[in-house]
């Protein structure tokens, strides 16, 4: 295999692994802020125990997030040195700001995790969540800005292969930034809420400590409500993304939807199989005019087809499947959370039936997969460009020997880290019923100084 492919594989592998922990890192602090706040507000030790248990699990995932984040930070220069030399002139600002945000978060997270019992007024400890969430959200925003710059490079001129007239802020706030940032933050919140709901559902199904049932039911309610709200916003963000693509990156939208000929009343294609030679789609569900509607809120909008894009600038057509799966998994999780609250209102005794719990258990992994597919779609969808319109992937990759060796080494590393992380997480909570934690927090719910 040649260096370009291996560099792409390795970068993809690192990011696919990192994004799991990055998503947890961005959104989980928000969840324990809710739980801790509820505990203090309602004077209910169960929520306090919930926040502590989530935070305890978080220490494990954050460790993997930190190290994989360090890896990708350095791998950018190791695998794409020519790109960083050029791009470094422009993306340095958001990258630099990202490390500040991360630094800020790391400091307050350390303080948060080790000061549960230090403050007499427990709301002071709760306030520590604010700098953590600011730090984690900011770091997500800045890094998203770097990525959106690669999709929609702006804020410079290119003269003889050199970037000149650079406007750092314009490059950072490029046209795809806001749409993507909104999408990243909302789907992150949604995914973690559903992951935690999955855990509660599995614990209820297993039913190892029957005294914990009330605790896990409380957990389900909080997490599914948060998941429901975030997934509403996520769908809004998804719609905004489609409109954005229609206006700014039509080749990605066309490849996503196997939309070959420019036409108005374009169909939305769901699933199906493609004969790439004949440009024929088989076995798909087609919703007439829906693609036009998604792109511009009107059924008769003309959507640019793939045949108008030069052949060597077309994204791979496989991204259609990623798109379908992302949307399907996201909508599934949303639907289950809606169903849960409907049952709660109208058919109360059905809410915790095994069938419902199994469905809830699926929402977490499905949302996480939706995140993965969404990123596959976003990243493969800008192929063959590294810096869209300016630099192709092949021009940016390293020429160093030993890239395949590093691919294998990092592959092994992620396997070991992933396995150990799951092993440790399971062991922490396996023999530890929540009621003990709840008892331990009974004295901590008072808010008085």
């Amino acid at each position: 295999m040649d260096g370009v492919i291996i560099s792409r594989l390795l970068t993809g592998m690192t990011l696919a692994f990192h994004i799991i922990f990055a998503t947890i890192g961005v959104a989980l602090p928000f969840m324990f802020m809710i739980a801790e706040g509820l505990g203090l507000y309602k004077k209910d030790p169960a929520y306090l125990a919930m926040a502590k248990r989530w935070a305890k699990g978080f220490t494990i995932t954050v460790a993997v997030g930190v190290v994989t984040g360090t890896i990708i930070g350095l791998q950018l220069s190791l695998l794409w040195p020519s790109f960083m030399r050029i791009g470094g002139q422009v993306i340095a600002l958001p990258l630099f700001m990202e490390t500040f945000a991360f630094f800020f978060e790391a400091i307050f997270l350390s303080i948060y995790l080790y000061t549960w019992d230090r403050f007499k007024n427990r709301w002071l400890h709760w306030l520590l969540n604010i700098p953590i969430i600011i730090g984690s959200t900011m770091s997500a925003l800045f890094i998203t800005s770097v990525n959106s710059f690669m999709n929609t490079p702006e804020g410079f001129d290119m003269v003889n292969g050199q970037l000149v007239n650079i406007e750092p802020v314009a490059a950072m706030l490029n046209s795809s930034f806001f749409v993507r940032a909104f999408h990243v933050v909302t789907t992150g919140g949604m995914t973690i809420a559903f992951m935690l709901a999955s855990i509660a559902a599995v614990k209820l199904l297993r039913n190892k400590f029957s005294s914990d049932r009330a605790y896990h039911k409380k957990g389900l309610k909080v997490t599914l409500l948060t998941g429901l709200i975030f997934s509403l916003f996520a769908m809004l963000a998804g719609h905004a993304s489609a409109q954005f693509l229609h206006n700014e990156q039509p080749e990605k939208l066309a490849a996503m939807e196997w939309h070959f000929d420019t036409e108005s009343r374009a169909d939305l294609v769901l699933f199906g199989v493609l004969d790439e030679e004949k440009q024929e789609v088989k076995g798909a569900i087609k919703i007439p005019g829906m693609l036009s509607f998604l792109a511009d809120d009107r059924f008769d909008t003309e959507v640019k087809g793939l045949n108008e894009i030069p052949e060597d600038e077309r994204p791979p057509l496989i991204i259609h499947y990623f798109f379908d799966l992302m949307v399907f998994f996201g909508v599934f999780s949303f639907a289950i959370s809606v169903l849960y609250f409907m049952l709660k209102k109208f058919k109360k005794d059905w809410t915790h039936q095994p069938f419902m719990l199994y469905m809830i258990a699926l929402t977490g992994p499905m949302s996480m997969l939706a995140i993965e597919f969404g990123w596959f779609l976003a990243e493969m969808g800008r192929q063959p460009w590294l810096l869209r319109g300016y630099m192709k992937v092949a021009e940016g990759a390293t020429h160093a020997d030993g890239v395949s060796l590093t691919l294998i080494a990092f592959g092994l590393l992620y396997a070991v880290l992933g396995f150990s992380c799951i092993y440790v997480l399971i062991r922490i909570f396996k023999d530890k019923p929540a009621v003990i934690d709840i008892e331990n927090n009974r004295d901590n719910v008072g808010g008085e100084a």
């Binding site: 494990i60 954050v62 460790a63 993997v64 930190v66 190290v67 994989t68 984040g69 360090t70 890896i71 930070g73 350095l74 950018l76 220069s77 190791l78 695998l79 040195p81 020519s82 960083m84 030399r85 050029i86 470094g88 002139q89 340095a92 600002l93 990258l95 630099f96 700001m97 990202e98 490390t99 500040f100 991360f102 630094f103 800020f104 400091i107 997270l109 350390s110 303080i111 080790y114 000061t115 019992d117 700098p131 650079i166 406007e167 750092p168 802020v169 390293t398 020429h399 160093a400 020997d401 590093t406 080494a409 990092f410 590393l413 070991v416 880290l417 150990s420 992380c421 440790v424 922490i428």
Partner: protein
């Protein structure tokens, strides 16, 4: 000062910060392993973990800060170092990941496994060694520019006395700085057993420390005479002062006095040597390919970076002080009365 000098001063300071906090962390891991093997772990384990738990994640950020900053201020470094360091940097990254992750698994997880302590301890010495190749490469002589791109000459690197001297320097420094800090920390915690053990280790490592420094100097004369000449002709006083502070620190610990001052002297000793090395190397970041004055990022970006840097510091310094006050300078926490 112009942007390139502000940039390099900032980055060098952060690298120095990483060397100090990283060394404490790396050395502590090794001492924990060594204590476990020699069955003395009950003496220092609690002390070390009380310090490490709250700060290990912050330590890591110093490193990230440095390499993101250097690519930002000097994008050419991404090209030259990025192309040549694929293998050594990947090794360092893998070791760093194993170390960070297994530290968390060992500390916050339920089980404790010797294998995890072993990984954690050994990587503590291998990481500085693999990072030190960056410093060696920056002296020039190990890389070539070809039509395909720049490549690293492994044979030259592995056969170079200078490169090996730097590797040993990094390992010895880690053990020296770390035992110096832990001596101070144990004294503060009034943990007599840990204090005696760490003090002994500190004194053991003081000798090799000063010897290896001489080796580095001698081999630099051979490897990059220009740099050696610059260092000895114009900045000899920085290195001389550094040795004085070293002697001061060792003397204080020998006399069992002023442990805080002693550690401060160790920090100054390293600061003087590190900045002396850095200044005498200028204007080259990578000899002779990356010249500070030509490789700096465009003006508008440099200005933006400096502004962000100042704003960031205004945010970070108070937060860091808070962290230190809560965990390092809080007498009750250090002595284990408060968890």
């Amino acid at each position: 000062m112009d942007y390139q000098h502000i940039g390099i001063a900032v980055l060098w300071t952060f690298l120095y910060g990483y060397i100090i906090v990283g060394a404490i962390d790396f050395g502590a891991g090794f001492f924990m392993l060594f204590a476990k093997i020699t069955k003395q772990d009950h003496i220092i384990n609690e002390l070390v973990s009380r310090y490490l738990n709250p700060v290990w994640e912050v330590t890591n950020v110093f490193l990230v800060f440095f390499f993101v900053g250097i690519v930002g201020f000097f994008p050419d470094t991404a090209y030259y170092f990025g192309s040549t360091l694929l293998i050594p940097a990947s090794v360092a990254l893998i070791l760093l990941s194993i170390r960070g992750a297994f530290y968390a698994f060992e500390t916050y997880g339920k089980d404790t496994k010797f294998a995890w302590v072993f990984l954690y301890g050994m990587t503590g010495l291998l990481i500085p060694a693999s990072f030190s190749t960056v410093l060696s490469i920056s002296e020039g002589g190990f890389i070539e520019e070809t039509k395909e791109g720049v490549i690293l000459n492994w044979f030259e690197l592995l056969m170079s006395p200078y490169a090996w001297a730097v590797v040993f320097l990094s390992i010895v420094s880690v053990l020296f700085i770390s035992s110096g800090f832990l001596t101070y920390y144990a004294h503060k915690a009034q943990d007599t057993n840990a204090y005696e053990l760490m003090r002994r280790w500190f004194l053991i490592w003081a000798g090799p420390m000063i010897i290896i420094c001489q080796f580095v100097f001698l081999s630099l004369r051979q490897h990059n005479p220009e740099h050696f000449h610059e260092a000895t002709a114009h900045y000899w006083w920085l290195f001389g002062l550094s040795i004085l502070f070293f002697i001061g620190a060792v003397a204080l610990i020998l006399m069992r006095r002023y442990h805080g001052v002693a550690f401060l002297m160790i920090m100054i000793q390293f600061a003087l040597a590190f900045f002396g090395y850095g200044i005498s190397k200028l204007p080259y970041i990578l000899y002779p390919y990356i010249d500070l004055n030509h490789a700096v990022v465009n003006d508008s970006m440099a200005l933006a970076l400096v502004i962000v840097f100042i704003a960031g510091l205004l945010l970070l310094v108070p937060s860091l002080l808070l962290l230190l006050r809560l965990f390092i300078f809080d007498a009750d926490y250090v002595s284990g009365k408060r968890r």
